[in-house]
Subunit: 353 residues, 2 copies
Amino acid sequence: MADTVLDPSAWTCPAPLREQGVVVMGHGGGGALSAELMEHLFAPAYGNDVLADLADSAAVELGGTRLALSTDSYVVRPLFFPGGCIGDLAVNGTVNDLAMSGARAAFLSCAFILEEGTELEVVGRIAQAIGAAARAAGVTVVTGDTKVVDSGHGDGVYVTTSGIGLIPRGVDIRPQRAAPGDVVLVSGPVGMHGIAILSVRESLEFGADVTSDTAPLGGLVSSMLEVAGDLHALRDPTRGGLATTLNEIAAAAGCGIVIDEHRVPVPEPVANACGFLGLDPLYVANEGRLVACVPAADAEAVLAAMRAHPCGTAATAIGACVADHPGGVLARSRFGGTRVVDLPVGEQLPRIC
Amino acid sequence: MADTVLDPSAWTCPAPLREQGVVVMGHGGGGALSAELMEHLFAPAYGNDVLADLADSAAVELGGTRLALSTDSYVVRPLFFPGGCIGDLAVNGTVNDLAMSGARAAFLSCAFILEEGTELEVVGRIAQAIGAAARAAGVTVVTGDTKVVDSGHGDGVYVTTSGIGLIPRGVDIRPQRAAPGDVVLVSGPVGMHGIAILSVRESLEFGADVTSDTAPLGGLVSSMLEVAGDLHALRDPTRGGLATTLNEIAAAAGCGIVIDEHRVPVPEPVANACGFLGLDPLYVANEGRLVACVPAADAEAVLAAMRAHPCGTAATAIGACVADHPGGVLARSRFGGTRVVDLPVGEQLPRIC
C-alpha cells in the first residue's frame, strides 16, 4: 500500500473536480461541490453500495440486528452561540442523522481535536453541554478520543460524533422512497440556526434575537412512526437548508417536488435578517427541523402527531412530490409564479455546523 | 441548556487540571495528561459507567447483539510516511481498537476535516488508501462527512474514523481482566511507527529505513481466539508505546507487571535511532502491534497461533502479571537490575497518529 499512496501518479483527479484542483470552502457546504467530492472522489475510492445511497446515516445489518451508523464532524464558529454550542450541536446532529432513518440513537462516540492553548474551561463547558444533550436525547456517550494539534492548526475545538441506533422492524425510510403523491411536511420554522450563528459571528442585530433551533428529533420521529408506519423519506435540512434537502430527496427518488413558498414557516426576524443580508431563507441551515415525505393518506395523522410533540408544534405541509420535472424542485409564490429552487454550489455561510 | 453553556461560571476547572489551565500538546499524547482529561473533565461531564472503563472500544448491547464501538481522530504529520499514510492509519487504528475487545470490525464511518487550499490530489490519494486498507481489513466504509475549515485552521487533512463490530459470544476481553499469573505477549517488534514518522518529519537518516508497522489486527486476534477462548486483556500499544499500554493494563487490573527488557523485540534501526535521539523504545508508538495478557496455561498455544499469522511472526513472551506492586510496571535488565516503567506525562512525539 505504501507504494500506491506515496506515488502521486497513482491518483488522477476526476474531470469534474479538476477545475478546482484544491479544496475550497464550498466542498464542506453540503451543496453541489460536496456532492461532487462524494461522487467522484470518496465513493470510487471506498467502492461500495451502502455509501452510494448518500443518506444521512447508513443502514447496516450486524448479528441479525438492523442498525443505523452515522458520523459528522463539527467545526462551527463561534463555539458558543445563541441557543447552544458545538457540544450540543454535535450530539443533536448525529442523533438526528440516525433519526432520519427511523433509528432511535442509543450510543455515541465523541472525538475531539483540540488546538494547543485552548482554555480547559472552554473544553469543560463543551463536554458538559455534550453530557446534557446526550441525557436529553436519551443516548449514552460510551467512547471517545482526544488529539491535540499545535497552535495555528486548529480553531479551539473540533468535535466528531458518531452514533448507532436500532432501526425498528419494518421501517424503511430513505430519500429514494419519496414518490409522486407524497405530501412534503416540515416540522417547524426554518433558518434559525444559520441566522443565530451569523448574528454572533458578524455582531449583527436583527431587531429581535434569533436562537439556534438545535434539538434532538428522535422523539418526534417516534411519534410520527406511531401513527404511520410507512414514512417514505425523512431528512434534516442542515447545511444548505431546506432547498438542498428537497433537491437531494428529488434527485434520490427521481421525482419532482413542488412547494408553496408562502407555506414555508420563516420567523419574522429570520426573514428580516435574510432581507438585510441578501440571503434566501430556503438555503439557511437548521439543526432541529426535519422534512418528511409521507403518503397523502397518512399526511394528516402524521401532521397531527408532529404538532402534538414539543419539537413539531409548528409543523406544516409545504408541498408535494410530483411526477413532473424529476430531480427538480419548484417553488410557487403566493401570486402564482414559480421559480426553480436549485441545489446550491457551495454554501452561503461557511462553518455553520 | 443555552444558559448553562453560555455561563462561564457553570464549569469549574477540577483541581488536577487547574495547573495547566489551557490545552497542551501532552493532553493528546495518550499518557498521564490524557488520562487526567478523561478522568476529571470528560467522564464527569458524560457521566456513565461504560466510558469509565477507558478501554480502546466500548462494548455495548443493541437489539440483543453485543457489539463494540470505537472512534479515533487522526492528525498525524506528515500525511504520508514510510509504510503508509493518514488514510490507512485511520482504518487500521479503529479496526485494531475494535479487535482489542475481540470484535471483528464490520462497518466504518469516515469524517474529514479538510483545510481550504489542500490539493484534491492529496485528498484523493488518502481516500484511495482508506479504501484499500478497508478492503484488506475486511471492513466496509458505509458513511462519512466532509467539513472544510479556512486556511490556517487545519493542517491539510484530519480524519476521524469510527467503527462497529460483533463481539463473539462468550468473549470478554478487557484490561481489567488481566490477572497475576498471566503471561504478557507482544505480537512483534516495537517502535517502528514512531521512528518512521520521526525520520521523515525531521529528515533524519538512521542507517537503515524504518517503515511504519501500520496493519489491521482483526485476523491475528481471531487466530488467537481460536486456540484460547479466554484471552484476558488485549491492547494495541499506539501513542505512548508499550510502556503506556502496560501501565494502563496494570492500573485497570490492579495487578503488577514485570517484563524482561531484553525480551522486548526492538529492531536494530529503531534501537539506533532511539539511542541517537535519546528516546526510550518502550515509549515509541506502534500501529500494528498488540499486547496480550493470557492465562499461563494457554500462553504457548496462543504464541504459536500468533507466530503462524503474518501479523505475529515475531510474537514473543516478554513478561508476566504479578500480585506485587499493583498498578506498577517493572522492567528487569539482562543483568538482573530492575527499573520502574512509568506512565509518561505527555508524549515524546506529538501528532504521531
